[in-house]
Symmetry: C2
Subunit: 474 residues, 2 copies
């Protein structure tokens, strides 16, 4: 059940012809800026051989099979760290280690929902991270339907006392993932907003695009002073069903059983591996993804793919025969999903100079665009990167790089950044659902990712230019 | 999230041009047998106006929204009968009634599975109908993997004592559904075979083609003398995962909690509605589908679609202005899924002459073929049907009609039959899974079904020929 991309195969056949990118002598002297052609043969060779890579797929297969889900601060995430250390050492990395930290642990319990009236039937949902719990025997209350998050915000204070709030707010796919950010407020802030107005529980439409009866989890947060209430997401077909039932105009009563638990402080950790550079003063190139996952699937696209892509790209540099100028540090962050605990812990522990950072945490579909946030002195680095990525079908975007929750605290210090943007068109069909499993990974698209990351490292880690501080994108 | 078929729209645009089928005068005098052109204008008009039908979709929407799942012999199925009686009366049918019967009731309980070792993780599964139960706290045992049902049959007696048996046996889609029959043995008979060899539980790969983590339920049976053991189906991705884990070569231990229950005898029933004919001696035309459903989805394609298609086609005859020669009896059978109790109860209670029978129980995708089992004296009826269906893109198949579990006992008496075969290519992506919901119905393809059934009734119910007994197809 691997999904293969005919489109990508066609694209690569058309653009990544062996030798084409490796013959700068044949390129016109003044190629238009939109079609850069001059690529260091070392970079081109590393990029093109990476297009045949199988190791990233094998890493994803191994982690998702031999560990499975890896919810933050659980025993499963600890097993994932042990698996990761053994694997990264076997790959030949140096300074492989775990940096642990403490964080509040939340675990899922029972989760069932049913319409009690007017039309008795079960609905499929899943608790949001940090959800409060119903009594063990459940909670039954009338449902108030809000088509959008803003409709909820407009409800008078106190008007939702003893009610279960439903928030619609359906999102659509977008290649750059922006719709997730825009519509995600219903999940991130909706439960707290409803709690403030007196609601006893919140049920949202999944902030995801799957049309299967597989709900989409994800974190919500309750600010200090707001007691967590039970909060869960219905699958899209179940949200449709609730809306159809409500549209009949009769009062809707729902029964919820949600028994997640907060377990107090527990251990998580970041797994770190390095390719040592020749110039300690040139700053670290920090790359990675997150090792933890939500607990519904096996975290294949989110984010076994990201940790695999970045580690394999670093290994290709390590095995290239030319030691990089800058140390490449691969970090497989812990506890990203539940609140970016690993990213913050890393930044606190690593005051040393970082030259540049980049994170892979948007699945495994093809990279369609890249963006940078480089200081003016390193403009040539961006130009060389543009030339190196063009044969992979990756143009340069007009925006400023700033993606990656885990590397956010390092970027916030003014560290330069590169985004290699994966296509988000089908990402939210799978993301945070039980369907996040290995069969959603397209091996061909995954290889294109590895090639792009390898090319990026081959440009950045060896760049003779100084890569100094920048103004963060956000 | 309705799925629209561009293919069908194109097909209809190309073949069902208004007037084309209604102008027999323009047809060549000796049209080739493969392109019949002469269609009674009454039949053609009914057929073509049915292509604009919305009532079937509305019935599916109503039943799946206002009742939802309708597991046999449960309170939900009883609500469905009440809903059905009210709806069929409102549609104008005569002799609307329920014929109840008693049957053994089985209901789902808890269902969880986890690999205990070598790689601890949860798997998604669902109990098969008639499954036995584990203790409430579950059952833990080593897993023995059989790639196919035949591999299980080849295992020595007693070799599976205290083991959990896994059966692979992956099916592929087929337009005529034959792969379901062929591979279904693993579900229908695998658990009993494993029980006879000493197994304590059985876990099969879903006999379905969904690549989602939504398992496929369905009935299994334990013959007299074989005590039911817990029996469940993993979703296809979970079956892949178990096979990947087992392929590592280390012993696999699984824990299962399955607590379905047999509730003893309970009531189910068939809902019956009629369009009275003018000639009581001409025999009843029996059509329908089944009102019950599995409990995971809302039974939209299985079989709200079938009851809706057949009832709406009959209503179109009723409203045509010409009373049919033969009484059309629409039966919405109870308790098909769990053992065809409704079909048998109907046959026992209805010794009267049936001229012809047909059932719709293969979803709502387009009818791609029809087949008949007609006596020689009624060959002309089949020829007229062929002419009437051709503009809908429906050719005549080479086989002998015999589909429809509920009407099986009536066919077994030697009653003539017509199969209007729906495409099964995507049927088993949805069938018996939680995804069997209204959004899987393509309104355009559903309309083509209604048109075909209307045309069939317009030919058969008015046919002046005697439609006498036949040799059943199977």
């Amino acid at each position: 059940m691997r999904r293969r991309s005919v489109l990508l195969a066609t694209l690569l056949a058309a653009t990544a012809l062996p030798g084409l990118a490796q013959t700068p002598a044949a390129a016109p002297a003044a190629a238009p800026a939109s079609i850069p052609a001059k690529v260091d043969p070392f970079v081109a060779r590393l990029r093109d051989t990476a297009l045949k890579d199988d190791m990233a797929y094998d890493l994803v297969e191994g982690l998702t099979t031999e560990v499975g889900q890896r919810l933050a601060a659980t025993e499963a995430e600890a097993r994932a760290r042990s698996w990761a250390v053994a694997k990264l050492r076997a790959m030949g990395f140096r300074n492989v280690r775990v940096e642990t930290f403490q964080m509040p642990a939340w675990v899922r319990g029972e989760e069932t929902a049913e319409i009690v009236s007017p039309f008795a039937q079960k609905l499929v949902l899943t608790a949001l991270g940090n959800s409060g719990a119903t009594p063990p025997e459940g909670l039954t209350a009338p449902v108030v339907v809000f088509p959008t998050y803003n409709d909820l915000l407009a409800a008078p204070d106190g008007s939702l006392t003893s009610k279960i709030v439903y928030i619609g707010h359906a999102m659509a796919p977008s290649q750059d993932g922006s719709s997730y950010g825009a519509y995600g407020a219903a999940r991130r802030a909706g439960p707290a907003a409803a709690a403030r107005k007196g609601a006893v529980a919140v049920v949202i439409r999944s902030i995801g695009t799957s049309d299967n009866r597989l709900p989409h989890t994800g974190g919500t947060s309750f600010p200090a002073g707001v007691t967590p209430i039970p909060a869960a997401a219905l699958s899209n077909p179940d949200a449709d069903q609730l809306e159809r039932i409500a549209a009949r105009g009769r009062p809707v009563t729902m029964r919820l059983v949600l028994t997640p638990r907060f377990l107090g402080q527990a251990e998580s950790g970041n797994v770190i591996a390095e390719v040592p550079g020749t110039d300690p003063g040139a700053g670290v190139v920090l790359i990675g993804g997150h090792l933890d996952s939500w607990d519904l699937g096996t975290g294949a696209i989110d984010d076994a793919a990201g940790v695999a892509i970045t580690a394999v790209a670093a290994k290709r540099i390590m095995d290239s025969g030319r030691r990089p100028r800058r140390t490449i540090r691969v970090v497989w962050f812990g506890a990203e999903e539940v609140g970016v605990f690993g990213g913050r812990a890393y930044a606190e522990r690593h005051p040393e100079r970082h030259a540049l950072t980049a994170e892979s945490d948007f699945g495994a579909d093809r990279i369609w665009r890249f963006e940078t946030n480089l200081p003016a002195g390193a403009n040539a680095v961006g130009d060389r990167l543009q030339a190196a990525l063009a044969p992979l079908g990756i143009p340069r975007g007009a925006g400023v790089a700033g993606d990656g929750a885990d590397v956010g605290p390092i970027m916030a210090r003014g560290t330069a950044a590169i985004d290699l943007n994966q296509s988000g068109i089908r990402y939210f069909d799978t993301h945070h659902t039980p369907n996040d499993t290995i069969d959603r990974i397209d091996p061909e698209q995954l290889r294109q990712n590895v090639a792009a990351w390898t090319a990026m490292l081959a440009v950045v880690a060896y760049a003779p230019e100084d890569i100094g501080p920048v103004t963060p994108a956000k």
